[in-house]
Chain length 214, copies 2
């Protein structure tokens, strides 16, 4: 069956975004430090339209995470813009420009209904207002037999983790502290809901810890 | 120079003890799950007077952490018993019985003065009321050229980490959630105060991440 696969970069003190997130600073103060390891990689830069970059021990981990994904799920905060109802005159279209790096259907969890938004390069944002299970069902259908990526942010991930709906999770643990911001595992409970550590790839910049159901 | 070396087991959501710590349940609810990996090891069981146990990839990590230690520092909460002034009639003597596993001088941070307590096997508990730097200085002197171990708990560790006084830190990251309890990195700030990841040893039960000053 099509799996729900979640991966995210997390600080050593458990944050996936720094404090004071805003349109100008979507990752919060210091949050960009969580992504330095991946932004340096050729295999991340290419799909984001950037040249150059490194090939290192993290490369196969990132390549694997991009394979066999047919649809993406994300929370409203990750799609971004502003809280509350959409701006009717100048609606927010995501952080990623005209040609977002997804190139497949993306489902955005929100309390505010909105028509689907078609972007260049095969990315369509569909706004789902009837809950995480409906969004997952729609994403699975759209993925056409491939897996569904859960892109974040923290609150969307917490809901899917707590409901036991995540089939694979890879935490890219970055050896630094943020000291504040959005915690990944807040309210998820006192266990990993059936997920077990199945692989660790260690580098000086980041430790990749992959969890799956046995 | 004699180093201050800290090692502790931490859950994937950043807790070093579960919620509701008590004399009956010193590690808090679920906290024993953080220590299953080490209690199973022969190299931990022997100094605690227990027979048997495994030898595995964690063995050299634990053996290294026990080497060249001449004194130990700990917080009042780790020494345990009860908060506030010591019971004059029946003073708490630690969790470890008549012959604690330290076999060297131990310095306990407390707000409540008390005479030193000599136990069997070479362990003496000295109670320090004039702060973390004084305790470290006393421990260094007592260590006679060897290193000082910072045993915990969370609050003592936070103070030494935030002050930049820790020279080596090894986190034994356990792939489970506790969902509540005592967080290790609360109030430590937005960086590791000069510590950098220098080694990772990955096993299915625990990931050992060692930090040091370069």
């Amino acid at each position: 069956m099509s799996k729900l696969r979640f991966r995210i970069s997390m600080s050593f003190d458990g944050f996936v975004a720094g404090p004071n997130q805003s349109v100008e600073n979507p990752l919060g103060v210091g949050g960009e430090r969580l992504h330095e390891w991946v932004v340096a990689l050729a295999s991340w830069r290419a799909p984001h339209g950037l040249e150059g970059g490194e090939v290192n021990e993290s490369t196969p981990v990132v390549e694997e995470s991009l394979e066999n994904i047919g649809a993406t799920l994300m929370g409203r905060n990750m799609f971004g813009g502003h809280p509350g109802p959409w701006d009717a005159e100048n609606p927010w279209k995501g952080w990623w420009g005209k040609n977002p790096p997804f190139h497949h259907p993306v489902f955005v969890l929100t309390h505010h209904a909105r028509e689907p938004l078609e972007m260049d390069g095969g990315t369509t944002f569909t706004f789902v207002t009837d809950g995480i299970e409906s969004a997952l069902e729609q994403a699975r259908r759209a993925a056409g037999g491939k897996d569904v990526a859960l892109a974040g942010g923290a609150k969307a991930a917490q809901q899917y983790l707590a409901a036991g709906l995540v089939d694979e999770m890879e935490i890219h643990l970055v050896p630094t502290l943020l000291g504040g911001g959005e915690r990944l595992f807040e309210g998820v409970g006192d266990n990993l809901h059936g997920l077990e550590l199945v692989r660790t790839v260690a580098t000086p910049q980041v430790t990749h810890l992959k969890f799956a159901r046995r």
